[in-house]
């Protein structure tokens, strides 16, 4: 499904990602954990080419884009294979909840407006927002906005949904409702790559956990392996600290 090969990213002299390679299978839920500033978000953004990698390649759903040799059309094709849930929701401010969700169907997939709104409505009901269809983002709470964000990503027909710290910007009271929606998706075997600091969620939901530090993948494995029997010293130190909280 996803194949990342020797992916590197530098901001000027700062190397944020160093020759990262990993695969994600269809239906797999991969959670990326690690200390702040180790390139987790940058990695996720590179998968969607919101950030252009310096070298290496990203392949999703059969579309492969090489950092050194690509064009806008290829990048656009790659982006259609995945969708993105942002830390700060980034809902379209000029569109209602249902329009936000329907947008990709109307503009990218050329579905008729009525049909797109039908689909969008079904998805919004699924995330528990049937009574907020015609609300603008500014009229929704953080938790509701993020659920619209997830609904928008679900509608976009991508093979995989990328989550970039989806609960970090939320007040504690809204975290649970967003995690519930994500768990629901996990149960439906939606392929997901999630960057998060929610260790409990990682432990419960992930099929595989990738631990990153300073631009490298230090260790990866099942939640049991990473949380109960980490092999690397740095993983042990991080897990010990994280679980204490």
């Amino acid at each position: 499904m996803i194949k990342v090969t020797n992916l590197s990213k530098s901001f000027d002299d700062l190397k944020v990602l160093k020759e990262i390679s990993f695969d994600v299978n269809k239906g797999e839920i991969v959670v990326i954990i690690g200390p702040s500033g180790t390139g987790k978000s940058t990695l996720l953004r590179c998968l969607n080419y919101l950030e252009t990698p310096t070298s290496g390649s990203v392949e999703i759903g059969g579309i492969c884009v090489d950092a050194k040799k690509n064009n806008n059309r290829q990048i656009n094709q790659l982006r259609k294979q995945s969708s993105f849930v942002f830390q700060n929701y980034s809902l379209f401010a000029n569109k209602t909840a249902i329009e936000n969700v329907a947008e990709s169907l109307v503009t990218v997939w050329k579905t008729s407006r009525n049909e797109a709104h039908e689909t969008a409505k079904i998805i919004l009901i699924k995330v528990g927002l049937e009574d907020k269809l015609d609300f603008y983002p500014s009229q929704l709470s953080g938790g509701q906005q993020q659920r619209v964000g997830i609904a928008r990503a679900m509608a976009a027909k991508g093979e995989v949904i990328l989550f970039d710290e989806p609960t970090s910007a939320l007040d504690p009271e809204w975290v649970e409702e967003v995690l519930t929606v994500m768990k629901q998706l996990a149960e439906e075997k939606q392929t997901m790559v999630v960057v998060t600091h929610e260790m409990q969620f990682a432990r419960e939901v992930a099929d595989r956990i990738i631990f990153m530090e300073e631009g490298y993948i230090v260790e990866q494995g099942t939640p049991e392996q990473i949380f109960e029997n980490p092999q690397q010293k740095r993983t042990q130190a991080f897990v010990k600290r994280a679980l204490k909280q």
């Binding site: 969708s83 379209f92 000029n94």
Partner: protein, 223 residues
């Protein structure tokens, strides 16, 4: 000789001036429409940094912001026909509309560009993330939001443009300023004539200020 203020004259002059208001408003509306199209194009060229023509756009903006409107109108109407035969047949009314739209498009382009750049870049990222192209994102998400930001300053330019149509009388366009000038020279009631024309402009501007508020209210619906 000192004469007394003649209110009756102003009242009688009003209907005569209002007959020419159509010409004034036609210049302003056409001028603004063309300025809007041109300034949006200029702004997009600069935002997308389209190679080569972005420098032409910058040069265009620099010239039309850097020189007086009156000078531009004179170059256009009296100057250009000297070298370019296609301008010989151009009437003063057309020249005024062209001059106004070129001049104001330079200012408006900068307002629109600033409004576009002011939209949080996460909005563009969200568009790209669901597979939209940059152009689709601009059309569906960024420009509608930028329109809201740019409306107050664009309406300001429109109001300025209405008033600037008065310069067209120097090209010989028979609009309200020209008529007021004519009436003043024949009646010698300069103060009353020019006060009358000032009042007409003022009322028109008040009317469009009201429209602006309604428009802003509508555009603020989502916020």
């Amino acid at each position: 000789m000192q004469s007394s203020f003649d209110l009756q004259y102003i009242i009688e002059l009003m209907p005569i001036l209002l007959k020419y208001l159509g010409v004034t408003m036609e210049m302003a509306l056409w001028g603004f429409l063309f300025a809007l199209i041109l300034s949006l194009s200029l702004a997009l060229i600069r935002v997308f940094k389209i190679t080569f023509i972005q420098h032409l756009a910058a040069l265009f903006i620099s010239f039309f912001r850097g020189t007086p409107l009156l000078v531009q109108l004179f170059i256009l109407y009296y100057g250009l026909p000297q070298f370019m035969p296609i301008f010989i047949g151009m009437d003063a009314f057309t020249a005024a509309i062209i001059g106004l739209s070129l001049h104001f498009s330079a200012y408006m382009a900068e307002s629109i560009r600033a409004a576009i750049l002011g939209i949080d870049k996460s909005q563009m990222e969200a568009c790209l993330s669901i597979g939209m192209t940059r152009l689709q994102a601009m059309k569906r998400i960024i420009l509608p939001q930028a329109a809201r930001v740019a409306t107050p300053s664009l309406m300001n330019y429109f109001i300025d443009m209405i008033k600037s149509t008065s310069l067209a009388f120097t090209l010989g366009v028979a609009e309200i300023m020209a008529k007021a000038q004519m009436e003043a020279s024949s009646s010698f009631k300069f103060f009353e004539s020019f006060l009358a024309v000032a009042l007409v402009y003022w009322v028109i501007v008040l009317f469009f200020t009201r429209i602006q508020h309604l428009l802003e209210h509508r555009l603020n619906k989502a916020y």
